[in-house]
């Protein structure tokens, strides 16, 4: 059931590069990463590619397949017509290192800028109590495997390098949302999300959600709720009025600015 797949793979580095043609034997049930590995083992031993788990769990093998940000290990060849040429390029929002490997340090820098979880003391018996419904929203965001495909596809930085310093990107909006919704966290992260993280740059065009291999509903469940939380703080007439006459959201009591 095998056949010969035609592939174009981008080879090169920051100095330049191009799409090289490769013909590779593939068989039933294989994924793009298998084909890449075969090219590596038989035709181009030095073809640079990142991968670890080959199971869609580590988020290392991010690349663009026929122009779409995908995990190579989760892109099945059966999705393509055997006659079709499959083009694989590195992610295009990050500086390229070599071949399919890009420098994703942007994301690690953004991770460092984020104030971490700040819990109150434990309960008297040394444990913590949280209800399942209260942690579920955060759990969705923590499914993130840090493949950075959402960051790659986000036009705010993909098309505008100059926005990088001011924009944390969808992956980290997930973190802000996770912490802001955490039943125990003692920080108020809205001002930071809006300011330092650049939440306002996002124009909710949902490409991050479209590419997320974990199916996290980044825009609907994290970004927009965060935008709404910012509105609570800054732009809502009723919340403002409420706070003037002593009505406030007690659910947020005891939080301090992060």
């Amino acid at each position: 059931m095998g056949y010969t797949l035609k592939m174009r793979i981008w080879r090169g580095d920051q100095g330049g590069g191009d799409l090289g043609d490769y013909d590779v034997e593939v068989s039933e049930g294989e994924v793009v990463l298998d084909a890449i590995h075969r090219v590596q083992a038989t035709q181009a031993g030095d073809l640079a590619v990142r991968w670890n788990c080959k199971a869609g769990k580590c988020g290392s093998c991010s690349a663009e397949v026929n122009g779409r940000p995908r995990l190579m290990c989760m892109t099945r060849l059966s999705d393509f017509d055997p006659a079709e040429t499959v083009t694989v390029t590195p992610m295009r929002s990050f500086p390229v290192i070599r071949d399919l490997v890009t420098d994703v340090s942007f994301n690690y820098e953004k991770a460092r800028e984020l104030p971490s979880f700040a819990p109150p003391p434990r309960d008297a018996d040394g444990k913590r109590r949280m209800a399942q419904v209260d942690v579920e929203r955060g759990q969705e965001f923590r499914k993130c495997i840090e493949c950075f495909l959402c960051q790659d596809t986000c036009h705010v930085i993909r098309d505008h390098e100059d926005n990088k310093p001011a924009f944390a990107g969808p992956r980290f909006f997930l973190r802000y949302a996770e912490l802001d919704m955490h039943p125990l966290d003692t920080h108020d992260r809205r001002a930071l999300a809006q300011g330092a993280a650049g939440l306002g740059m996002c124009n909710i065009t949902k490409c991050c959600t479209e590419v997320c291999p974990e199916g996290i509903r980044i825009t609907d469940n994290a970004i927009i709720p965060m935008k709404e939380r910012v509105v609570d703080r800054k732009y809502d007439p009723l919340v403002w009025l409420g706070s003037k006459i002593g009505l406030r959201n007690r659910d947020n009591d005891g939080r301090s600015e992060a």
């Binding site: 068989s27 083992a41 670890n52 869609g56 290392s60 340090s105 979880f117 399942q132 759990q139 840090e146």
Partner: protein, 619 residues
């Protein structure tokens, strides 16, 4: 240069002597999985200047693949659970070959380590009272595994990663350690290369913690990632430390068998914990035929009792599907051998006919996803096809139970690359807790060792660095040497994986093991003639050639120990010696590198003696 490294933001110092990048730390942790991160956090908190060096990006380590949970006797579901029961389960699961002290510390400290994760932001599934939920797993008497759906490992690594980042620990990502540097028998540092640029780095540090994981990549069918090339095992051997229990390799009973490209990929044990059963091609639930004497008292022997157990755990015994992994893997293996396998050479794991689609999707989301995406199988409708896959090595670097110190001063080992804790077979869920408990202990011990040295730190010797550099560049040289240039590292790796799978696999015999040693000798020979194409910048061929040295060395250790141990126990099954023998049950096999580095020496060593107050649990 004063540059910052683009991946990590760490200071680079390329301008120093010889153009070599050098860093000084108190503690260098090799590996950024659960164990490495936990060790680094502990070392940092103890005041040591700490660096993490890892082969992949931060957060990609194999720990993310752990699905089931973290075993810890917190008693959230079963108040009667406590460390003593956990200790007993662990020892029995390991067929009493465990280092008792490690098993004890592990059982005692695991609960606090789990709670600590929660302090750092982990979001575990909850019980109705809001406590951390715990689930059932093979070999554990009570529901004991703290979990987050079926992605517990991801939660753990993310939590530890975020903690390490918050503490500002330096991380050297995509940087591979190829040699440990010693002075007067003690650790002085480590030599490494950046995968990205191929440039070399020297770490000067009196303490090195190895947390490099396992050896699974030497086998063809494995659930392990490419990183699992036994680096820590080999580094320690070369540095003069010993390995124990290397014959014990755990084959996880349930790995995917189809499609071929994902063969070996793990199917979590939680499928069985949540009600999944194993059937053969005749539709028979065959595990009832394979209940060993040892576990007969606590295992259900009728389908009715087994099914009742899920609802009423007090009055029924556990289904045989939840026996320890070695038992189940062997049973599956014999069913397949007897011709009762599935079309793709596996066995059916069926949860579709036993639980509602909603339940399955909620409890096992990543399994659902994995089968849907990779095999086009809807596990809420059809059974899965599964078979044994190489999953974990119980053996590893021999360490002191309390401090994880190896035979070499300054060299510590934790996690899968250390040995002793799990004896001959590891229980599911005990691995994640192992990482946390001993990671912390090693980090603290490494930091205090460093303090104890005061000013008297060993200084790395220039000639050692030169030698390490030469060795690392050797694969480029071979190609030009006599008879060189004819072998491709990828082919050698494939052949190695094939022979290990065929000859040192789940069922072993003397002739096959002898042949494997012969094969390994030939592979080492071939490895001397490897070609590596291209240059040093991000060159996977070169990286593999370097890893291959480690894989060959560690594979030899496994085969040698497997040949020596003439009994069957836990993760070591000899067809020619089918039962356990009391005499072998009292000793470990210890492997060291001969002084001239040319051969592996093997010795027998009696087990440490368990004190009477612990012995009483097994009467």
């Amino acid at each position: 240069m004063g540059d910052r490294h683009p991946m990590t933001g760490n200071e680079m110092s390329g301008a120093e002597a010889g153009g070599m990048e050098r860093h000084r730390y108190d503690v260098v942790v090799v590996g950024a999985g659960g164990a490495g991160l936990r060790a680094a956090i502990a070392a940092h908190e103890a005041g040591a200047r700490t660096a993490i060096v890892c082969k992949s990006l931060l957060g990609k380590a194999h720990t993310v693949m752990a699905e089931g949970g973290i075993a810890a006797a917190m008693g959230n579901r079963w108040p009667e659970d406590n460390w003593e029961v956990h200790f007993r389960d662990t020892m029995r699961g390991g067929k009493m070959l465990n280092n008792w002290r490690m098993a004890q510390l592990h059982a005692q400290e695991a609960p606090e380590r789990v709670l600590e994760l929660e302090d750092w932001g982990a979001l575990f599934d909850r019980t109705d009272d809001g406590l951390i939920s715990q689930r059932d797993f093979g070999g554990h008497r009570y529901a004991r595994l703290a979990h987050v759906g079926d992605r517990t490992g991801l939660e753990m690594i993310r939590t530890l990663q975020q903690r390490a980042v918050a503490l500002g620990i330096d991380v050297f990502m995509e940087c591979t350690v190829t040699e440990l540097l010693k002075v007067d028998g003690a650790i002085a540092g480590a030599f490494a290369y950046w995968r990205e640029t191929g440039r070399f780095v020297v770490f000067e540090a009196p303490s090195v913690v190895l947390a490099t994981g396992g050896i699974g990549k030497s086998f063809k069918v494995t659930s392990n990632s490419w990183e699992y090339t036994g680096d820590g095992h080999a580094l320690a051997l070369r540095a003069g430390a010993a390995l124990i229990n290397m014959e014990f390799v755990q084959f996880h009973p349930t790995g995917m068998v189809w499609p071929p490209s994902v063969k070996g990929l793990l199917v979590t044990e939680s499928v069985r914990g949540d009600g999944g059963i194993l059937t053969n091609s005749e539709g028979k639930r065959f595990m009832f035929d394979y209940i060993p004497e040892y576990f007969r008292d606590e295992t259900a022997d009728t389908v009715e009792e087994a099914d009742r157990w899920y609802e009423d755990k007090k009055n029924n015994r556990r289904p045989p599907e939840l026996l320890p992994r070695d038992e189940v893997a062997r049973a599956i293996n014999s069913e397949i051998k007897a011709g009762r396998g599935t079309p793709h050479g596996g066995i059916y794991l069926d949860i579709a006919s036993r639980r509602s689609p909603d339940f399955i999707r909620k409890r096992l989301p990543s399994m659902y996803h994995q089968f849907k995406e990779l095999a086009d199988v809807d596990i809420t409708q059809e059974p899965m096809e599964i078979g044994p896959t190489c999953h974990y090595v119980m053996g590893g670097i021999e360490v002191d139970a309390d401090t994880e110190l190896s035979a070499v001063p300054g060299l510590y080992a934790v996690g899968e690359c250390s040995g002793g804790m799990h004896g001959s077979n590891r229980l599911g869920g005990n691995s994640l807790s192992d990482l946390l408990v001993f990671g912390r202990r090693a980090g603290e011990a490494a930091a205090s060792y460093c303090v104890s040295l005061g000013e008297g730190r060993p200084a790395v010797r220039a000639e050692d660095v030169k030698a390490a550099e030469r060795d690392a560049l050797a694969p480029f040289e071979v190609a030009t040497g006599p008879g060189g240039g004819t072998e491709n590292p990828y082919t050698i790796q494939q052949d190695l994986q094939q022979s290990m799978n065929d000859l040192v696999g789940i069922i072993r015999t003397r002739p096959e093991l002898e042949r494997s040693l012969e094969e390994l000798r030939r592979l080492r020979e071939r490895a001397r003639r490897m070609t590596v194409e291209g240059h040093r910048q991000y060159n996977p061929g070169w990286h593999l050639a370097l890893d291959l040295r480690n894989m060959l060395l560690v594979s030899e250790c496994i085969a040698r120990a497997a040949l020596e141990r003439e009994e069957s126990r836990g993760g070591h099954t000899r067809d020619d010696f089918p039962g356990p023998s009391p005499e072998w049950g009292a000793k470990n096999l210890v492997l060291r590198l001969a002084a001239d580095g040319s051969a592996v020496d093997l010795a027998h060593q009696p087990l440490p003696v368990m004190p009477d107050e612990l012995k009483k649990f097994f009467e």
